[in-house]
Amino acid sequence: MAIDRRQFLQGAAAAGVGVAYSGLSLAQTNEPIRLGLLTVKTGPLASGGIDMERGLELYMKEHGGMMAGRKVEVIVADTGGVPATALTKTQELVERSKVHVLTGPLAAFEALAIDDYIRAQKMPILSVAAAEDMTQRKPNPWFVRATSSSSQCSHVMAHYCATVLKYKRMILIADDIAYGQEMNAGFQRVFEENGGKVIQKLFPPLTTPEYGSFIAQLKKDADAIFLGFAGSNGFRFIRQLNEFGSAGKMKIVGGMTALDESVLRNMGDEALGIPTVCWYSADLNNPINVKFAPSFRKAYGYDPGYYGAGTYVNAEILNAALVSIGGKAENKDALMAALKKTNVQTARGPVTFDTYGNVVGNIYIRKVERKDGRLVNSVVHTYPDVSQFWKYDPKAFLANPVYSRDWPPAKNLE
């Protein structure tokens, strides 16, 4: 057994050396750019993770597998949604597959688990995960995020609820994970600064089969409830709310993953009219998205949402950055500098990055409508060029602790 393994390792090492030498001897342009995708294909987060792979796959198909005139080889790694595996898989992509650039991972704790390693390896990464501090109090110089920080969209929704919908008293509910806590905290801060009151905050565990005990607690005299759920939880909560006969009695608004296109296809009329907020909608009417969304739907049978669009937009940004440096993905410093200077039209609209590597872009208020027999999040209002700091000064914003269950303190709970 030992000898077998030694032979195997020697073979593998020889193959690795061979690849490295052939890379040196050939001209750079003959070798493909290797793009590593960190995603989740097994476990509870898999539906979003598979969308991530599909979004990227579609981009590659549309562009003949090329970026900036070079072939692109996509290497997919399944992290299983486990932090330790995310690190191993990142090591595999970087050390064994020798990728030039990474995209993903999906979950905040995965991004945090590989943070140190990304810094040490100086590996450019276009993230999908929303963890606030990755672009705030502990910004990673190799990390850019074209999707959204946890609260970037909920700030906007809070402003819309307070000023347009004129809600005064609201309930916030979200999954009890960092993402949900950060999202609700951002909502609470902007909502209360615009004259509203958060009268109740609830955090059910991520894997709650039954929301009955939480629905029973809801304050009856609230104007509306904000759903900060991820995955299929928003869909399950709304369905159970209806089963409890609360349909129509409580107005609902949602965060950026509460009624994602990936779960909307499973819903019925109970979803109609619910406003949500996101940096993307499959219904978005811009020249890129009017091609992307229908071809995604044609290929996979449903609309692209947060995750499918996330990797597609990342690929567009990566392509633009590679074009600007003549396709030389091997020069990581130049690639990173080009990524940070991104100013490109994408499926989500125009994208630029702030100095912390987080996107400044449009955020959309959408409303669920029925079009051509299927439910869509149709855009009703656009907040242009929203930063992760909303309207606050970045320095003042960063002087506060990171958003959490306890910060900012809720003073109006009843």
Binding site: A2, R6, L9, Q10, A12, A13, G16, K41, T42, A77, D78, G80, V82, P83, A84, T85, L87, T88, K89, Q91, E92, E95, R96, A108, F109, L112, A113, D115, D116, Y117, A120, A131, D133, K138, D176, I177, A178, Y179, S404, R405, D406
Partner: protein, 310 residues
């Protein structure tokens, strides 16, 4: 046999010189998993007590060392022994509770205790940083050797693995080990012979939790990040699978089992999309073909092929 072991050890020492960095890191993880599985094997294989909560000790020692260095600003010279000591003390307490039962009751108690610790790590955000986990950790540099280097870290883990496995071998081959096996096979008879069955089991439990803590320390050094998922039932169950697949109650079994699990999880998953299913099929195959585990099964097969006595 001894010559084979020395040959294997020499091979393992040489590994970083002929394989890439990725394989060195993978080997470090396999060794850490091997220590962890071997520590669980003390309970499952030698004491006959199936625990489904062993990840607690891995997680506790990782969290304690991370917390002491991040929040208290202590160096590795303090955090490492403190983490081992505190985790072993918790092991003393947990052993005292769990050993009120044996068999299924013991399994449920260890599961319940580990769920309490896991839940605490998730919800006690002020200490554990909840779902965001603790990051910004470092590896120690004993005698000025920087363990940030993956080869240096691998040798460091290898030394500790050899020491841990050697101590386990000494432990189970000692007269105490013989009485331990006695309590596994015939606890009533051992009791009537005047042996303190509970005490023997408790000492083993504590030693096992100490070795689990050792694996946890190496785990947090390797990952430089710690998240509550390390305490989940899945991690405990995976270690138990490694022990059973490799061969419980043998020295080499858990090591082989841990290597198998890590290779399936981290290596095969790059090629096989449904690697969870592959893992399931492999385990079903082992249970059907080699019910005693890979190591005893292979040895029996070899004996049969040589035509020797079964």
């Amino acid at each position: 046999m001894r010559r084979n072991y020395i040959l294997l050890l020499a091979l393992l020492i040489c590994l970083p010189w002929f394989s890439g960095e990725y394989y060195v890191n993978l080997a470090s993880q396999i060794l850490i998993a091997a220590i962890f599985a071997a520590s669980l094997n003390l309970l499952v294989g030698y004491a006959g007590l199936t625990s489904l909560g062993h990840a607690s000790y891995l997680g506790l020692s990782a969290y304690i060392s991370a917390w002491l260095s991040l929040r208290m600003g202590l160096g590795h010279a303090v955090t490492a022994p403190a983490a081992l000591l505190l985790t072993t003390l918790i092991g003393c307490g947990f052993g005292w509770i769990a050993l009120r039962a044996s068999g299924l009751g013991f399994l449920m108690l260890t599961l319940a205790l580990s769920q309490i610790v896991w839940g605490l790590c998730y919800r006690w955000v002020g200490v554990t940083n909840g779902d965001n986990g603790l990051s910004g950790l470092t590896r120690p540099s004993p005698f000025g050797i920087d363990l940030g280097n993956s080869s240096a870290f691998y040798w460091f883990v290898l030394i500790i693995t050899v020491a841990a496995l050697y101590s386990i071998a000494r432990f189970v081959n000692s007269p105490f080990g013989a009485t331990l096996r006695g309590t596994r096979d015939q606890w009533r008879r051992m009791s009537s012979l005047g042996y303190n069955v509970w005490g023997i089991r408790w000492v083993t439990f504590v030693f096992s939790s100490f070795l689990g803590a050792l694996a946890g320390l190496l785990y947090v050094y390797f990952n430089k990040y710690i998240h509550p998922s390390v305490m989940s039932v899945t991690v405990s169950a995976e270690a138990l699978l490694a022990v059973i697949a490799g061969g419980s109650g043998t020295l080499a079994g858990p090591v082989v089992g841990a290597a198998l699990v890590m290779l399936l999880k981290n290596y095969a998953s790059a090629y096989v999309e449904r690697w969870n299913m592959l893992m399931g099929i492999v385990f079903v195959f082992i249970v059907i073909v080699m019910p005693a585990g890979i190591v005893p099964g292979t040895l029996a097969l070899l004996r049969r092929l040589r035509g020797g006595p079964r």
